[in-house]
């Protein structure tokens, strides 16, 4: 089964949110300009609720609301990826544990589990459908894509899913730069949410044709070829810093230059590819995500023309 992307919404270090051309004016980011460009949240979330939500939850709930406001589908599944989950609430509760004697406030703990994101979305929309969270480091988004495909194959009554991936920045991550986190790009945060459904073969629709995984130490080129994915055949190539393997050109894009580093960066890239294909920059795209060593995810997209 192929997945049609109906609509997508992204909050990131770029001004991607609330624009009909979210990627037209993106620019190279650096450590001086990598803060999240947040919308006015109270336009989406009741103010009383906003106070209780971390930036991650605000971002992810807002992109979900934005998708469903613009495209009112009957959502049968909510499938969310996150590499590190609710890091800010986790850190906040650990600080309480370390510093406070006696009874602790449970607020941060309540919101610390990774599936708070998918849970809050279901709660907001009173959605009783399938609800799941995948957390496999840099491949959390790709695994969520695969789950949407599986779920629509398995469940006849699920026609549309809310698919997303989100990760947030906490200053502690800077401590790990150059040790276990690549220090060539700024650390950032992103939330991308999409409405996906089974591809109908309609003219102009953008579909995810397939998703592939590899955990070997093989060269990226060999990993792609193993999965019958040949870079030269794609109009658009989005990658996480493997450009030495690919001829350069305006349609060969290192998305980390624009998104920065976070475990959901490939979801940003997927929205970017969706936008480029919609606008006719080509009819095929591939996203190569090897942000973490020996963990490659490949997403293949095309436009039906």
């Amino acid at each position: 089964m192929k997945l049609k992307i109906e609509i997508a919404s992204t909050i990131s270090a770029q001004r991607t949110f609330g624009s009909t051309s979210p990627f037209d004016n993106i620019y190279l980011i650096d450590s001086e300009n990598c803060d999240t460009k947040t919308p006015i949240y109270k336009e989406f979330i009741p103010p009383l609720k906003i106070r209780r939500l971390s930036p991650l939850l605000r971002m992810s709930l807002t992109t979900a609301i934005d998708c469903l406001r613009r495209n009112q589908r009957d959502i049968g599944a909510i499938v969310i990826g996150t590499g590190l989950g609710c890091s800010r609430d986790t850190q906040a509760f650990l600080q309480l544990v370390k510093s406070t004697a006696g009874q602790l406030s449970p607020s941060a703990f309540i919101h610390s589990t990774h599936n708070t994101v998918s849970g809050q979305i279901s709660l907001f929309f009173k959605n009783h459908g399938y609800n799941i969270t995948h957390s496999q480091n840099n491949l959390s988004f790709e695994l969520s894509v695969l789950d949407c495909i599986n779920t629509m194959i398995a469940e006849d009554d699920i026609n549309y899913a809310l698919l997303g991936s989100t990760d947030e920045y906490i200053p502690f991550l800077d401590e790990l730069k150059g040790i276990i986190i690549d220090d060539r790009y700024p650390l950032t945060e992103v939330s991308t949410t999409m409405i996906v459904g089974e591809a109908q073969g309609e003219l102009g629709e953008v579909v995810i044709d397939g998703v592939y995984f590899d955990y070997s130490q093989d060269l990226i080129k060999d990993v792609l070829n193993k999965n019958d994915v040949y870079i030269d055949e794609f109009d658009i190539v989005l990658h996480s810093g493997v450009d030495h393997l690919i001829d350069s050109g305006e349609n060969v894009i290192n998305y980390l230059d624009f998104c920065g580093i976070n475990m959901s960066a490939s979801a940003f890239a997927c929205h970017y590819a969706f936008d480029l294909l919609k606008k006719g920059r080509g009819t095929s795209a591939v996203i190569v995500n090897n942000l973490c060593p020996e963990s490659t995810g490949i997403v293949v997209l095309s436009k039906n023309v």
Binding site: G83, G85, F93, F109, S122, H134, S135, A154, E175
Partner: protein, 394 residues
């Protein structure tokens, strides 16, 4: 396509194999004891009676890993002999692991050092993420075609099982190792304590006086196969995974709806998928955490689905403690033991029924029973409700 379980293994506070677990059930001996835990003082916790060092020696695990990873590796290694066929066939295998806080047991102490302005081991945080636990299980067991970590709090391993079934049905993989692992941490103990749902006494599922959970550690994994893969593997089916349902309660982040809507829907969906009537369920392995909220709403949901004729049911949480993301994996393995050997698992700690529902769980180990269809429940924060049905091979 039918999905079969061809191997099962667990490590829990009541044993590392079927014989030890069965003895605990027969003698109604809990694995929960009062211990000083880390920064927190004394708590009733379910601990596996083996140190990290002992487990690493027993299972040939090298390097410093989180206990969550060690338990997960050990459980998968317990069924590795049934995976030998993967080395000589072109069958594709995936690993789907449920865990709630990943390597927190290891990294929290380093984070406390960081907070205290002491030197800390930055490399230790390679063990922190939930995904790193699954990665380490792969690195220590088998080169899987795909690995995935499901994090839906206390229903994580139930959803890992469901995901594995969907992968086989979609034809993505031929076999799937599915389940979950979690260990104890200051973070989780103090977290449930902050919610004021950590019982300072031994937990008492479905009892009127229940006052919260005790936490435990554990890991439970099963091997899912199809008829086609079993022809190649030569493995025999233990039970069939015949039904599953997973829904959102959409009521509250940490509490279940008073009418048990999500739990009711999950059980009904699982029955529908299995093509079974409620009257055909012979036993319910309940989630039964021993919190006021869970046990009441789960009881109501059971009554919603089964009416006045409630199948025998139990919660094993008073034996093991709540092993969080691992709980469904561990309890599914217990359930498979009970189906294969024909016994009812007892429910420790129960004295009086919950006023509103009056349900009475199985109180003693009962031998010589036939369990053709068993329903297993797992519910988590975020309103995540999952039910699985296992059926005996005819």
């Amino acid at each position: 396509m039918k999905i079969f379980v061809t191997a099962a293994a667990q490590l829990s506070p009541i044993g590392l194999n079927k014989s030890e677990v069965k003895t605990s059930f027969q003698t109604k001996t809990t694995g929960i004891t009062k211990k000083d835990y880390g920064l927190m003082g004394s708590y009733y916790v379910g601990c596996i009676d083996k140190s990290d060092k002992e487990l690493c020696e027993k299972y040939g695990i090298k390097g410093k890993l989180s206990r969550t990873s060690i338990l997960g590796i050990a459980a998968v290694k317990e069924i590795q002999t049934q995976l030998e066929f993967l080395h000589t066939s072109d069958l594709k295998a995936c690993l789907i692991n449920g865990t709630s806080v990943g390597g927190m047991d290891y990294t929290e102490s380093e984070f406390f050092n960081y907070l205290g302005n002491s030197s800390f081991n930055k490399r230790a945080f390679i063990n922190h993420s939930c995904g790193s636990v699954t990665r380490q299980i792969m690195q220590n067991t088998f080169e899987f075609s795909m690995i995935d970590t499901v994090v839906t709090a206390c229903s994580s391993s139930a959803n890992a099982i469901l995901s594995g079934a969907n992968h086989l049905r979609a034809g993505n993989f031929d076999v799937a190792i599915v389940g979950g692992t979690d260990s104890l941490s200051n973070f989780t103990i103090k977290g449930f304590d902050s919610l004021m749902i950590y019982d300072s006494e031994l937990c008492r599922p479905f009892d009127a006086s229940r006052n919260g959970i005790n936490l435990g550690e554990g890991a439970g994994f099963i091997l899912l196969e199809t008829e086609r893969s079993m022809k190649i593997s030569g493995n025999y089916p233990l039970v069939e995974l015949s039904g599953w349902g997973s829904v959102s309660d959409a009521f509250h982040q940490t509490a279940s709806s008073p009418e048990g809507k999500g739990a009711t829907l999950a059980m009904k969906n699982a029955l529908s998928k299995a093509g079974l009537k409620p009257s055909q369920i012979d036993f319910i392995s309940s989630h039964g955490t021993a919190t006021q909220n869970n046990d009441l709403t789960e009881s109501i949901a059971i009554q919603n689905v089964f009416g006045s004729i409630i199948p025998p049911f139990c919660s094993t949480k008073a034996f093991t403690g709540h092993t969080l993301a691992a709980s469904s994996g561990v309890e599914v393995v217990f359930s498979i033991y009970s189906m294969l050997d024909g016994f009812y698992m007892p429910n420790l700690g129960y004295v009086n029924p919950i006023d509103e529902t009056g349900l009475v769980p199985v109180l003693d180990y009962v031998d010589g029973v036939e369990i053709e269809h068993l329903l297993s429940n797992a519910f988590g924060f975020g309103g995540n409700n999952t039910s699985l049905i296992f059926s005996k091979i005819k």
